[in-house]
Symmetry: C2
Subunit: 505 residues, 2 copies
């Protein structure tokens, strides 16, 4: 019996919320897996998340979902394309069409294999032993190829995966953006390196006890606006952010005694992600209208707080006195000029998440190139370390000393997240565009940051981006907020303005 | 179309395992709720666990479950009543018959309300404000009455709840056991108090930094046999143990700087629970054959390690040198005699989980009495504090100074666990019977404990109890292992042997 459009829409919303609720339960299992789970718990955990993945997939791809979608699509409920209903139906349709093509068994197997892979990767990285990870990686790559073939959108396999993280983005467009960016960025980085100038890099490598880093991270996270009554900061092998739903957003970081920047910038970064999630509208939880636009837009929030705020001179005028209070030994006598340059130390380095703002995008480009070859079937997993090091040398003119600082460094592949990396550079580009617009809209943003007044910027982001949920796709959102389409120039402008005076280039 | 018994049994097992897997995912959510969840996450968490409770209830009570059960029950598969199949069918039938009577909406509502209640209770206890908890408790009691009425087994409402934790146990039998026990225990405790003798109670109340307590707890937990590669120890408001499945068993404790016993004995206690779970047969996970017999038998394991081992002189000959190494200031010059008596200090006290072995059972009796009146409808929740204090004065001749140390102290009611408390005294009784038998079977058990050799006792428990899963009901298991039915005398014998020399009674 056919039902009316209103009822069909109500059913869609209810199903979507139920799936989100169950999926977010698996989110807690994932968070625990990367923070507290004992190693012996891995096999059982893999079975748990696999079961839930299969259940949510089944709930999402049930035939009635397709019928409800069709009913609402033919109704006046979606006439206003910016209405909540139209947004929800548009995005559920997209996700439904992608999901129905993927067999449940594949979803379960991917979930099970990647859950088990986490510990394998962590252990392999610890021992810098790629061989220990390769068979697992091989299996994941097989499954990801299978998944991409099943989805089958776009001219290449990699298109199908990329589109899963950044709806509407294509490999060709991504390539175009990377080409435009690196055409300017690579010579710029080379001029910086050739300048021979370097800051005193030892400043950030003194004794910074982990307890003090945790205190500093907490203070900064709270001051920029991350709500710790609705969130936590824990430690994990690879920093990440996960939200279970309204009122519960978790960040992780990691502490190295001789590297205060590692934890501080990861807290700023994850804090940016976390504040986006905390700014989504709770009444739309579980429907696209209450979800983030894309990973690229998500990353624009983390990058903005990490780099555009956290590596600015203004931020350090606020932060240095606080940091000095916590680490009087390490930071007494360290000048503003010295710390500002130290946190903007541009040089080829091995670890992506600790790379400077400029070279960071070359790390991403490397992964974008390799992933296409791996998923496309042109690069065997056994050949990854050599290919990594070769491409690394081309882009950054140096070679990783071991695989732990090379192809084993990132958690992503162990989780099956192929196609995810390019969204990091998209995030940098979006962040540059948004930040330039915020400066224009807010007046003396630098003065605010200097005084530790982060609220105006956060409120601006809340209104322009967070509260919108998925109302607009990423490209449209950028155009609406900044008046311009995706463009590499604001990022280059930002890097030149900041780095040219420091390096005299 | 009818299916054969073999297929029906396979379906039952698969469904049971699936339910266990999904239910254990909710277990992770519960663990997180009591350990790490930020307060803002409570409403969303309540929705998550409520959804999963409803789903597992639906999976368990689906009509095909009843059909599969009937098919197997009429088949030769259950001819051998001790076979895995017979055990699984017997216990699934019992649980099915109980579950189908309870509407799904009630299951979901109970789950949602009790998940939300946890923070309300914790906050009320912190402020010793019963009024802040009373409306929540009222709602829980209403729901528990409704649940008990729906199940409707046994002559009283409370029978239905008690039977949920201790299959086969009745209020009448429990009353008989309590009467026999207290007839001997109460005068014995009174003689001890009247002796006027007391150990130096300050020994355990010196400065014991939490970090040192955590180290001691870890060492002891590992030495007695709790596998930390398949488990963890965290902190929570109320110590508890939860197992998600094979390879992942979590204990919690809590640290008070001036009370080293609180954390140490809770680690021994929860460690006993945890080792039971770790000793279940993983290949039977998710079916009754791989599950604990009852809460009473579970408690016999925790009580054995906490009291029969942990408060023995032999144990302290092993533990004191270790503790002295960690707390040289607090423990230097403390003799074996002094510490042994201090950990066997018998006196009326307010907090059940910190009560001595003898008075502990009076704390349980109080709850057994009150719960029957609450669930029966004879005691309004508003009158609980007064009723608590009155009964406390009758049994222990003193009155709690506030509700935090009175009726608010336990987590159980906030979780809806009415009928649970009596299993604690059952655990003490079972533990006494098991321990006496282990002493007989193992020879010089005291010598082993003195040398820190806990493995023989653990192996004995593994073979006699843990690996059996639910093969036998509690009463049968006790008879099989000890040759005698449930009996209060071994516990009184244990208490007299230990305490009479200390107090000269």
């Amino acid at each position: 019996m056919a039902i009316g459009a209103e009822q069909a829409y109500a059913n869609l919303v209810e199903r979507s919320q139920r799936i989100a609720l169950l999926g977010s339960s698996a989110g807690v299992l994932h968070w625990d897996m990367e923070t507290y789970m004992p190693s012996g718990g891995a096999p059982h955990r893999a079975r748990q998340v696999s079961l839930i993945s299969g259940m949510t997939h089944e709930m999402f791809t049930a035939p009635e979902m397709g019928e409800w979608l069709s009913t609402v699509e033919r109704s006046p409920l979606v006439a206003d394309r910016e209405s909540d209903a139209a947004v929800n139906v548009r995005e559920l349709r997209r996700e439904y069409d992608r999901s129905v093509k993927v067999p449940k068994a594949l979803v379960e197997e991917l979930s099970r294999v990647t859950a088990l892979a986490h510990n394998v990767w962590r252990e392999a990285r610890r021992r810098s032993d790629f061989q220990a990870f390769q068979p697992t990686l091989e299996r994941i790559v097989e499954l990801k190829r299978e998944q991409a073939d099943a989805i089958g959108t776009g001219p290449t396999r990699y298109d199908a995966l990329l589109d899963g993280y950044e709806p509407g983005m294509t490999v060709a467009e991504m390539r175009r953006v990377f080409d435009a960016l690196t055409a300017e960025l690579s010579p710029f980085v080379e001029r910086i390196v050739a300048s021979g100038r370097t800051p005193d890099r030892t400043i950030l490598r003194r004794d910074y006890p982990a307890e003090g880093q945790a205190v500093l991270g907490r203070i900064v996270a709270e001051n920029i606006g991350f709500d710790l009554t609705s969130g936590r900061i824990d430690t994990s092998a690879h920093p990440f952010t996960i939200s279970f739903g309204p009122g519960d957003t978790r960040l992780t970081t990691r502490y190295a005694v001789h590297d205060v920047g590692s934890s501080l910038f990861s807290v700023l970064h994850e804090g940016g992600h976390g504040m986006y999630d905390q700014g989504l509208e709770p009444e739309h939880y579980g429907t696209p209208r209450g979800e983030p636009v894309s990973l690229g837009i998500h990353e624009s929030q983390s990058r903005m707080w990490e780099n555009f705020v956290g590596r600015s001179r203004s931020f350090w005028e606020y932060a240095l006195p606080i940091a000095r209070g916590i680490f009087p030994g390490a930071l007494s006598g360290v000048s503003m000029d010295a710390i500002y340059w130290a946190v903007n130390d541009v040089r080829p380095s091995f670890i992506r998440v600790e790379a400077d703002e400029a070279t960071y995008n070359l790390h991403v480009l490397l992964r974008f190139d390799l992933e296409q070859r791996i998923i496309g079937g042109d690069l065997a997993t056994t050949d990854i370390p050599a290919a990594w090091n070769e491409r690394f040398a081309q882009l950054l003119h140096t070679t990783p000393p071991d695989d732990a600082r090379g192809c084993l460094q990132d958690v992503h592949w162990s989780g099956g997240s192929f196609g995810y990396f390019p969204t990091y550079t998209l995030g940098n580009l979006y962040a540059a565009q948004f930040f330039a617009q915020a400066q224009q809209d807010l007046g003396d943003l630098d003065g605010m940051l200097r005084r530790g007044q982060f609220r105006p910027l956060l409120d601006w982001l809340r209104e322009k981006i967070h509260r919108q949920g998925m109302r607009y796709r990423a490209g449209d959102l950028v155009r609406r907020v900044t008046g311009r389409p995706l463009d590499h120039r604001p990022l280059m402008e930002h890097l030149r303005t900041k780095l040219s005076p420091l390096y005299g280039v």
